[in-house]
């Protein structure tokens, strides 16, 4: 008897829940919504799933960013009443886990329809063959206004698979009270060290970043400046950094780090420093100059700090590196793919959205028409425009993360006392070459 009662109760509950669902569906069309987890019109015929960095959604912790995304999402929802987007956020600091999960889901046939993809991970998605081409949904401006370095990552064999949303690059910051003329070449950094030592200053002459993924980020511009490459795109992205001129450049760059450490021009603590830590040392008055992200300028007292090109191994050479996030499209259904591209363009990457959005974050626009517009005609953005002409994006190959890990380890070994940089380069090259051959 008890069992029968229990069964009747369960059937009633299921029936009630189905009924309530049905009555919701038959109600008048819902109003557009915008929140950290959803956008659009609930119950709309096209339902999308998106994976977006939390900082690029209404989950942003800064109020004006949050207000901006609410305004953008509601405006988009008004224009597209037939689309509803379920948003999953990528928490800060979980890039590797989020990208790994996404690529695994994509290979299992259950990915999000579109996703924020860290630019250094795009190569993994290309090689997994999970991205959908979006050329059919791009207009002329989308094809011509993005900087070339973005296309080297988002395009494969003439087809475009993603849209670059924002970037950041490196700047060399120097305290103008200590050094009115910035060091332009490596010798100048050593000269600054000598000058500070002579004046018995406790200031750190030169700081850079050598922790985590940022270690390779800050290292590679010095390497690329010597006309060297990590992988050969013409040969299926075969690693070449341990061969010929590339090997010499890699050794020379590691020697630069080794010699800076030996001379006391750079402290071993760099292996604990990310961008925010070097900025903290600068703000505390402990550093005379440092290399850090372009977004750090807002944290500094601009009257004391100059910014510009990184010091290079010889005069007349400039180099930089571009990070940032793209949007990749994984939907296979054409209607969903088109709706996904429209969402990304209207909320994030078209001229108006990018012009308004990126200054709120301190990120750098990747469209020429945005950077050359009146609002960006400032000394800072003019310098950025110059830097965007001399750098490279990280190579779009699934083996780049291997190089990133090994460069950090190599710098750490130098800090720990290793002096044979040729041995370090050969060990790194053997490791990545083995990974390439085993694929």
């Amino acid at each position: 008897m008890k069992k029968m009662l229990l069964l009747i109760a369960m059937i009633s509950l299921i029936a009630m829940s189905l009924f309530s669902q049905g009555s919701e569906d038959s109600a008048a069309p819902a109003a557009p919504v915008a929140s950290a987890t959803e956008a659009g019109t609930p119950g709309a015929p096209i339902k999308l799933r998106a994976l977006i960095g939390s900082w690029n959604t209404m989950a942003a912790t800064v109020e004006d960013r949050k207000d901006f995304y609410e305004k953008q999402l509601l405006a988009w929802a008004e224009r597209h009443p037939d689309v509803y987007v379920e948003i999953e956020g990528i928490p800060g600091g979980t890039t590797a886990q989020a990208m790994t999960k996404l690529i695994t889901a994509a290979l299992a046939g259950n990915p999000h329809d579109f996703a924020n993809i860290d630019s250094q991970w795009v190569g993994n998605f290309h090689e997994a063959g999970v991205l959908s081409p979006i050329d059919a949904y791009l207009d002329d401006a989308d094809k011509t206004q993005f900087f070339d370095f973005t296309k080297m990552v988002t395009m494969r064999e003439g087809r475009q698979y993603g849209l670059w949303a924002e970037t950041g690059l490196l700047l060399y910051y120097w305290n103008e009270n200590i050094s009115p003329e910035p060091p332009a070449v490596w010798e100048d950094v050593f000269a600054l060290n000598d000058k500070l030592k002579k004046s018995e200053s406790d200031m750190i002459p030169f700081l850079t970043i050598a922790k985590g993924a940022s270690a390779a980020f800050a290292f590679l511009p010095f390497y690329w400046a010597q006309d060297a490459i990590l992988f050969d795109p013409a040969d299926n992205f075969r690693p070449v950094f341990g061969e010929g001129r590339n090997r010499e450049a890699m050794i020379k760059t590691l020697n630069f780090y080794r010699d800076l450490l030996a001379a006391g021009a750079m402290p071993p603590e760099i292996i604990s420093y990310e961008h925010n830590e070097v900025a903290a040392e600068a703000k505390a008055g402990n550093a005379a100059s440092f290399i850090g992200g372009s977004w750090l300028l807002g944290q500094l007292n601009v009257e004391d700090w100059g910014y510009g090109s990184l010091p290079m191994y010889k005069e007349g050479v400039e180099s930089n590196i571009y990070g940032g996030w793209t949007f990749g499209f994984l939907a296979k259904d054409e209607r969903k793919l088109e709706a996904s591209v429209n969402f990304v363009k209207e909320v994030y990457t078209d001229k108006e959205a990018m012009s308004e959005r990126l200054p709120l974050h301190g990120y750098i626009p990747v469209r020429k028409d945005v950077l050359s517009s009146e609002g960006f005609n400032t000394p800072f953005y003019n310098e950025i425009f110059k830097q965007l002409e001399v750098g490279r994006a990280r190579p779009a190959t699934s083996l780049y993360p291997d190089v990133e890990v090994l460069v950090e380890v190599a710098i750490g070994k130098i800090v720990a006392g290793e002096t044979d940089t040729a041995k370090l380069v050969d060990q790194m090259f053997a490791d990545v070459s083995a990974a390439y051959n085993d694929r």
């Binding site: 590797a96 290979l107 922790k211 291997d402 990133e404 190599a410 720990a416 083995a434």
Partner: protein, 289 residues
Amino acid sequence: MKKEGNFKLVYWFLPLAVILVFFYLYPLADAIRLSFTNTRIGKLDSVYTVRSYIRVFSDPDLLIVLRNTLVFVVFTVFFQLFFGLLVGLLLETQLRGMGILKVAMITAWVVPGVIAGITWNIMFSSSAWGVINNTFELFGGNRVPFMTRPATALLATIITNVWRGTGFSGILQYGALRGIDPQLYEAADIDGANSRQKFFRVTLPLLKPMLMINLVLITIATVNTYDAIWSLTQGGPGIATTVLSLQTYKSTFLRMNLAQGAVYAVLMIVSSIVFTTIYLRLMKGQDHA
């Protein structure tokens, strides 16, 4: 009748058996299977091969990683047991403030490894905000670059893990101490035993079973620790604090090499089995003694 009883027993154990097979045995078997492939995250096509083992065993850094793991595990386990025993004995005294000590111990234990690593990283820092170095300076000492020298960085990881795990060890020892019959101490008093004799002749022998269980549990937990080390040193400088669990994480999630990550995971399983077997042999030997 007996057969029916056995059948019922199997019936009741079935859910547990299913959980064990699907959530423990299957992942273990799959990790071993993956170690014999060339699988990378993001690639569907993989082949069976022993190349991942060859790559791992021919890596010149492997010996350093194994040495780091041994030093990290041995010192962490020894000090967690030692300080845990002291904490247990202190709690047993029922002095004032022991409630606060209990809460402090449990708090350290429940703090996630990442938070523990970040907190100790700030404390060990050579910068102006490093409280440990500031204390050294206050007493006329020199600043120690904990994170940039291989030996001090490894020491820092051991200190962090000992701090984190002592609470768990202490609470277990305290529980065991509470279970010792007070009449045994009264009998020892009547026999004229002093405090030292009571500790070595009564307390320690009766604590041994729990000490052994504790030893096995904290050894396995220490072999598996990677989160606190990751947030404290990221395995550096170089690979000076990289242990097997961290190498597994780096291979799998940073380099996307699932096969080599699985090889390191197999090495972790083997090292856990080796440590546990040694302990069990010791325990057995003492039981016979």
